[in-house]
Symmetry: C2
Subunit: 375 residues, 2 copies
């Protein structure tokens, strides 16, 4: 909108200011920037440029005689156009940590969600921010692999379902006690035969009728069993959420006010809100960044959330969101999320393996889905 974007020098200065501010959390003055190697302008020049950037809304001033700090719009421009996609982790993340991740991917049947949780822990450790993992966005894409009804006591049984991503679900069935254990086993076998390989929503009354016919159990008597199965499956659709490193937020000076910190931590504990927050971004593969006021949740206005959605072979594993102060080390967070993607999913980024080159230094592989797009 304003002219043709920013000229090169303004970009360099803006990037320098934000980098500096992310590192120090101090409002940054013209002198600091001027003394940076490769800058080569006097404080006065920088001052003029900074005043311009402030007019354009990329920077703000806490008070008249302080340095500048980035605005949400400034951060947005920064993540969209200024940061290189670079391995900014600084170290090869302790091989065995990654080992954990890989191992839990392939290891065994069990809660498939484990791997996302482990990845989330790793990411929190790598970034020193809070990491929120949400699984169960799979919706109706998963298929039933095996199914078994286990008699427990008269009138009570347990349904166990294994899905094609190896998630194991179980749920209790309260059934007509006229159905004996042997009969239940028969029902179990037939259901297994019929349902295996199907998606949950494909199960219909015809199939149930067919089970009724084959086993000789009346449909009415069969219904509680089927209901039990459905309940079990419904459970499967329930999203699970796992939060890692919430306390780490307290390390950051922006939350040195206990009241503020408490507010944020309480929000983080609100599972419904967090699920919405993370899921909202999981429609698209790749990274989504929400900066400050771009977050719809009031009270998260001083926070940023970076979300990545992971899927393997088209099966959605879940999403991981990193939550930190607006003054977040975005390059590091992005690097961490992508690093885990590479190791977890197998090296293929959704849009191809190489990242698209952006402008200026290297361009970020970041989809701009924020509310405040570049204008």
């Amino acid at each position: 909108m304003e002219g043709f974007e920013l000229d090169d020098r303004k970009k360099r200065i803006l990037k320098a200011v934000i980098d500096e501010y992310i590192e120090t959390r101090e409002p940054v003055g013209s002198r600091t920037i001027s003394k940076l190697p490769d800058m080569g302008y006097s404080p006065a020049t920088i001052r003029n440029e900074m005043a311009d950037l402030e007019d354009m809304g990329y920077l703000t001033q806490p008070h008249t005689s302080a340095g500048r700090i980035p605005s949400d719009k400034g951060y947005r421009f920064y993540v969209d156009k200024l940061i290189k996609f670079e391995e900014k982790l600084g170290f090869e993340p302790t091989a065995k940590e990654l080992g954990d991740v890989k191992a839990s991917v392939q290891r065994e049947i069990g809660e498939m969600t484990d791997q996302i949780r482990v990845a989330s822990e790793l990411i929190s450790r790598l970034t020193e921010y809070t990491s929120i993992a949400v699984t169960g966005t799979a919706g109706g894409t998963r298929r039933i692999k095996a199914l078994q009804i286990v008699p427990v006591e008269p009138g009570k049984a347990l349904s166990v379902i294994v899905l094609d991503d190896d998630a194991v679900l179980n749920s209790v069935i309260q059934h007509d006690s006229s159905i004996g254990p042997e009969m239940l086993m028969k029902v179990s076998t037939h259901c297994n035969l019929l349902f295996a390989g199907h998606r949950v929503e494909e199960i219909n009354m015809d199939m149930i009728d067919s089970v009724s016919e084959a086993t000789g159990v009346a449909r009415t008597a069969l219904m509680p069993v089927v209901d039990g199965l459905f309940e079990c499956i419904k459970k499967a659709e329930n999203t699970e959420i796992h939060t890692e490193g919430a306390v780490k937020l307290l390390s950051h000076p922006e939350f040195s006010d206990v009241g503020k910190a408490k507010g944020i931590l309480e929000l983080i504990n609100r599972e419904d809100l967090m699920v919405d927050l993370i899921k909202e971004c999981s429609t698209s593969d790749g990274l989504v960044i929400r900066i400050g006021s771009e977050n719809k949740i009031e009270g998260l206005n001083e926070c940023s959330v970076v979300t990545a959605t992971y899927s393997v072979n088209g099966v959605n594993l879940g999403s991981i969101g990193v939550l930190g102060p607006t003054r977040m080390d975005y390059p590091r967070v992005i690097a961490a999320l992508e690093y885990v993607r590479k190791r977890l999913v197998g090296g293929e980024l959704p849009g191809g393996n190489a990242l698209p080159e952006g402008e200026l230094p290297g361009g970020a592989a970041v989809r701009n889905e924020g509310v405040l797009g570049a204008e």
Copy 2:
């Protein structure tokens, strides 16, 4: 040790000081106590008594010209001798909340630990402190109720075990793929027959041999299956921990320093430490109170922990600990824990239903297991 305990007036004053301090968190002065209804002494008298109490170690002074605050020893005397056991909840805890607790006790097969978790949530809500629930102290007392091996794919199966407290466990079995699904079912049936009703540690090689014999599966081929079962059972013994309302600590002014708050919250997240902390007290039925420096965990010196262990029909369900600042509303916490016990376990306190009468006003039903006993 010092003379014969405290005389009646000193007790009244000490109780008044601690009550007041718990309520206001301000050092309490002689004037405040003097003006209390039913006190009937001038500030000067109170002052003398308070000076005595300070000499005896029950009170301390933050600085010369401030009021008195209780020492750990003061709190210890308070919980041991001064507080009445009274329903200090202030309200009938929202019937439906308790409904939840009761319902989850009887309702259904599922993780037995659910009920302790629900109770823990309730307690945290009632007390406004952090509540930590630890389950799995059951050790070897549980029996196998039903057992089933579910074939999943060649070489892979899932073992599902239901224990007599209705806990459901499952674990993956990697077995010799020469054992087909039908054979597995046969093994499953025989294992179920043999193991049901037994305690885990009662399973021995003879039983396994007998299964091998009955099914015709070689013992060597059977071993992976049995190992899988054992692993599943081992899982059962693992303690689970659930923390509720950790953020609530931030509401209390003693944690208004972020650094301090962070330290405590990090400790709370250390599951190993918390399990030890809670379990350590769970040897005895009833309540155990740890005040300030009585806690062995450094960093919890300004906190108190009140722990209750719950068991029904001799089966240990688990323990719930309430963690808060030393300046904790002990009567309320005790009342909450006992209230839940009554509703959860069925009204019987371990030592009989009526609480033993202590001295002074009503005597507390609290076991003194603290490090600093009354001297």
